[in-house]
C-alpha cells in the first residue's frame, strides 16, 4: 500500500549522470562510466547498473568496445525528470492490483494517496534535463559573480 514517490539516492545518481551526458550531448562522442562516475562522485559499479536500467528504458544508448560509452538517446529537452525517476524507481511498470481496501475508509485514503502521487509526478513532468542544465549554468554564473 506504500505510495511509490520515493526520490531516492538512486534517482539522484541517475539524474546527475544524465545531466553530465546532457552537457556532453553537443559533441556526439560517448562518455564512459568511469568518466561520469568520477565527475559526479558516484560509485562506478553502481552507476553501471543504473545506466543499464536507463538503457533498457530507452533513455540512453550505449556503445561497446574501445572508445565506447554512453550517449543520450534523445535531446536533453525531450527527456523529463519523470521519465528518469519513473524508470529508475520502476513505478510505471508496477500495475499490481494491490491489496484491495474494501472498506470505504480505505478507498478514500487511497484516493488521496493517488492525488499526492499525481501532484508529485506533475512537478517531475514539467522539468527536462535541459532545464536542469540551464539552472546549473545560471547557478555557476552567480557563483562567479559572487567570487568577483
Amino acid at each position: 500500500m506504500a505510495l511509490p514517490v520515493e526520490l531516492s539516492c538512486k534517482s539522484e545518481y541517475a539524474l546527475l549522470a544524465l545531466v553530465e551526458l546532457s552537457a556532453n550531448h553537443a559533441n556526439h562522442e560517448p562518455m564512459q562510466i568511469r568518466q561520469i562516475a568520477t565527475q559526479q562522485n558516484i560509485p562506478d559499479r553502481y552507476l553501471e547498473q543504473l545506466l543499464a536500467t536507463l538503457r533498457r528504458a530507452g533513455l540512453v544508448r550505449s556503445q561497446r568496445g574501445a572508445r565506447g560509452g554512453y550517449l543520450l538517446a534523445r535531446s536533453p529537452w525531450q527527456i523529463t525528470l519523470y521519465d528518469v525517476v519513473s524508470c529508475i524507481e520502476g513505478f510505471d511498470t508496477q500495475g499490481e492490483p494491490r491489496d484491495t481496501p474494501e472498506t470505504s475508509e480505505g478507498l478514500v485514503i487511497t484516493e488521496v494517496w493517488q492525488e499526492v502521487r499525481q501532484a508529485a509526478e506533475a512537478v517531475l513532468q514539467k522539468y527536462t534535463l535541459q532545464d536542469l542544465l540551464e539552472r546549473c549554468h545560471a547557478k555557476q554564473q552567480v557563483d562567479i559573480m559572487y567570487y568577483i
Copy 2:
C-alpha cells in the same frame, strides 16, 4: 538524500484509526485499541505503537485504566493529513544536515526535490480528518443507492 514523501502502510493505519476516532468524536467517550483494531482490521499491538506516536505528537489524548482508551486531542477539522503523516513518517523532526551536494548539479536537483516534496505536502495539508470522514459517508451513500 532520499526525499521523505513515503505514504507507507504505517501512515494508512494511523489515518484509519484517526478516522475511526473522528467518527466517535461526538460522544466524548474514549475508544479502546482493540475496538479500533478489529473495526479497521489492524494488528492491535502494532496499532498500539502508532497511537503512542500520535499521542506524543499531541494528535490524540489517552485515558488510562478501565474504561480508558483514546480520544482525538483536537476536532477532526483541526487535524490535517499532513499532521498525521509527518508525525508518523517522522519527517519534520529530521532536520539533519544531509550530505551537502557541493556541486551545482547536486544543488539544482535538491531544489527540484524540495519542490516535489512541497507539492506532495500541499495535498496533504489541504485535507482534514473531517474531509475524509465526509467522503467516507458520501461513498457509503453511493453504495446504498447502488444496492437499491
